[in-house]
Symmetry: C2
Subunit: 195 residues, 2 copies
């Protein structure tokens, strides 16, 4: 195997990159300058050293606590619960939410052997009590596991007296009724809003 | 910008990888082990040092001449002319062709300022004379530039007495008439074969 094939093999081990794309990427890199390759390589090698979990919310960060947890301008009585660290980034990009986050580290999935104990749920309850949270917004994915986890959390949190809400589920903006699946359409009926 | 964003930024500079995929890849790499990252990084850094152009065919290779040019079992009277080094790999994958290759290094594209002089055409004529080639198969892409280059080469090579052929163009195998564009359909009529 030559250097191009080896590099293509590494690319093809990444999610969403097939054998053809991997070869194309390796060939592309033959034409870029060495500086870019060295910078790219350095970023790969130092990634694990630079990124840690935030000790408060469980998100990825370079500084602990993370920039969101340590930002005094965030709405500190709002807590958004997400599955994975990357969900924090996705929600931040929408610029809609200004509160705090809590990363569960997964969802309840009995078939995969993931129960509530494997998730950061105890920590969540503790934060709700200690940090004076008034509303918990559950932003797990609208999947079976995400919904199960949301229901579990809602029951657990209802005892603490905070408001518990769930992100709206329905037709995507710019979507088309014709292409909506039955479940999404059913949910958009159940969750309909009045003008 | 933190380490994840920096890495995502590098990924997004690669062809075919958008901002979302780049972020997804960076997050994926947070979960893989450090060995893979170091190997990947090493492949990137050493790529340019390890890969050179073959002094005979102009393809990418670690050894000079390349494994194809130096293989005595290839059909040495057949020469396939391609645009780019990666085309050699693509054709090799089909396992249909057992002759030699010649990489032009591009196509004649007056609008981009590429004339015949910028391509490895003199070298091609020299090889045809010296290496006892009997057939030149022109495998430039079926684009305007690729066809122009093929026509140019055909005229040039017709003086040398070798057979000059061009890869068949038409409907892709597994394709559907309904989805074929007009030009491809027209070509598949012109290039029709009898049973």
């Amino acid at each position: 195997m030559n250097a191009i094939d080896e590099l293509a093999e590494s690319f093809s081990r990444l999610p969403g990159i097939g054998k053809k794309s991997a070869t194309r990427l390796a060939h592309h890199l033959l034409k870029v300058n060495q500086n870019f390759l060295e910078q790219f390589a350095k970023e790969l090698i130092t990634l694990h050293d630079r990124i840690h979990f935030c000790s408060i919310c469980g998100s990825y960060t370079e500084a602990d606590p993370c920039p969101i947890c340590s930002n005094p301008l965030r709405e500190r009585e709002l807590l958004c619960v997400v599955e994975q660290p990357q969900d924090v980034e996705t929600i931040e990009c929408s610029k809609e939410y200004k509160g705090l986050f809590h990363v569960l580290g997964g969802v309840i999935a009995p078939l995969d052997g993931v129960g509530p104990d494997q998730l950061s749920i105890g920590k969540l309850i503790e934060r709700v009590h200690k940090e004076g949270i008034t509303e918990v917004i559950i932003a797990t994915n609208p999947t079976i596991e995400g919904d199960t986890t949301a229901l579990y959390l809602q029951r657990l949190l209802s005892q603490t007296g905070v408001t518990v809400s769930r992100l709206a589920s329905g037709l995507p903006v710019g979507g088309d009724l014709e292409y909506a699946d039955k479940l999404t359409l059913a949910r958009s009926f159940r969750g309909r809003t009045t003008f």
